[in-house]
């Protein structure tokens, strides 16, 4: 069973601060995805990283895939109240094109004005 651990589980910061969320596993993934989920809604894909060491930027969000494709991080610069939400990492693995994703435990972020 592939497990993805996220840390921290909860994070409360002031607006304008920077933060990093980590996603770690002992398994190798073919790709790693980051989602944001609002209460009562489905996960919404933010980014997919595929290559070990890959870095992707989405405005103030920077995503990195570990060299060994077992871990990833999400860094938010100058957090805003609109960044508040549940952030999920998800690893895709398995053979064949139908690869399922395994979700991490989630990081609940609260940005205080």
């Amino acid at each position: 069973t592939q497990l993805l651990e996220q840390s921290p589980q909860f994070l409360s910061i002031q607006e304008g601060e920077n933060l990093t969320v980590y996603c770690n596993s002992s398994s190798v993934f073919s790709s790693l995805q980051w989602y944001r989920q609002e209460p009562g809604e489905g996960p919404v894909l933010l980014v997919t990283v595929v290559t070990g060491g890959e870095v992707k930027k989405l405005k103030r969000l920077t995503f990195q895939f570990g060299d060994a494709r077992k871990d990833s991080s999400l860094h938010i610069t100058a957090a805003q109240t609109g960044d508040t939400g549940l952030y999920l990492c998800a690893g895709a693995g398995g053979s064949g094109g139908y690869q399922k994703v395994t979700f991490g435990t989630g990081t609940k972020l609260q940005v205080i004005p």
Partner: protein, 112 residues
């Protein structure tokens, strides 16, 4: 932007009853999935479906569960005899040839 549509948004059913959860994936996607999320817990994989057959299923997806793509557009999840512990949000997802998954907004199933 294309989206995955799920109906109903909320279903209440009595224990032992059959329920069918419906999904309309993105039209040119090839891979289809059902996931569930029990309140306060993480999103769990149930089943993947490709080329009109199940390609992988989890331990949760026992004989009480089945999936079907009856008409080339809908993708359904059936639970034959619901149990209290089946209460959860059920998410449908689809994927094309790239890595990105698109999830629906979910169906909240409450078994009483």
């Amino acid at each position: 932007e294309p989206e995955v549509t799920q109906t109903p948004s909320h279903q209440v059913t009595q224990m032992g009853q059959e329920v069918i959860l419906r999904c309309v994936p993105i039209s040119n996607h090839l891979y289809f999935y059902w996931y569930r999320q029990i309140l306060g817990q993480k999103v769990e994989f149930l089943v993947s479906f490709y080329n009109n057959e199940i390609s992988e299923k989890s331990e949760i997806f026992d004989d009480q569960f089945s999936v079907e793509r009856p008409d080339g557009s809908n993708f359904t999840l059936k639970i034959r005899s619901t149990k209290l512990e089946d209460s959860a949000m059920y998410f449908c997802a689809s994927r094309g040839t790239n890595y990105g998954y698109t999830f629906g907004s979910g169906t909240r199933l409450t078994v009483v």
